[in-house]
Symmetry: C2
Subunit: 145 residues, 2 copies
């Protein structure tokens, strides 16, 4: 394990922890008012995606893809957004965000200006589906190292 002093993703989880694996963790973020905003955080302090060995890159993207697939089945989003930016926190983490045509930022990205206030009833429907999504993810990702 390599860690960096002062890095918020070395010193904290970066969201509500859903799953912990040796090499990565899955967290749910309360951010931008989007109800299904998850992050796959690499446990080691790695800066760029290409700093990972190829096997680890593939393992990381398999986790990201599994989260996306489960979102599509459980939440029926308009689109899933995947991104690793890290300009502010250069510790490898993938955003995996289910987007809805009624959400606060659609069709803009999660990091741009809000377009509207999302209907709280629709947000609650998605929030109510998250435990089922997370149970499936726990079952599918548990054996992954």
């Amino acid at each position: 394990m390599s860690a960096a002093a002062g890095c918020p993703l070395c010193e904290g989880p970066g969201g509500r922890v859903v799953l912990q694996a040796p090499r990565w963790r899955l967290v749910h973020a309360q951010e931008a008012g989007l109800p299904a905003f998850y992050r796959v955080v690499w446990q080691d302090h790695v800066r760029e995606f290409s700093d990972l060995p190829r096997d680890d890159r593939i393992a990381c993207l398999d986790v990201v893809t599994t989260v996306e697939e489960a979102m599509l089945r459980h939440l029926h989003p308009a689109k899933v957004n995947l991104a690793t930016l890290g300009n502010m926190v250069p510790h490898l983490h993938w955003h995996v965000i289910a987007r809805f045509d009624w959400d606060s930022h659609f069709p803009g990205p999660a990091w741009g200006p809000a377009q509207r206030v999302a209907d709280p009833a629709r947000v609650r429907v998605i929030e109510a589906a998250l435990p089922g999504l997370e149970r499936e993810l726990a079952a599918r990702l548990r054996p992954s190292p």
Copy 2:
């Protein structure tokens, strides 16, 4: 090849074409004032990353990673940003963007509000390095199917 009527990435390249491969193309985009903004566009009209078979996902990410590695060597960015969003154009494409601490949007994402006007002299230095970057990418990616 599957194509969708009215899709701008089925009906046009989506930027200046750098490389064409059977399954993907690499284009350079003039967008957001960022000088090294590339896209890896999947040739078929595929909506979500997880719609690709796993072998194609890995091949796609290998291309994205190769672009990132070459950017790091040729451009010395502060960070590389990778993202597939597709809220507006739901045809699989990966943004691969070299980011600099002086660029128009840093440390914000490329899709947020501009933070400043970038120094044109620094932009020109990056633009002057793009042909070398693209020659290396042509050499490294040409054999890839």
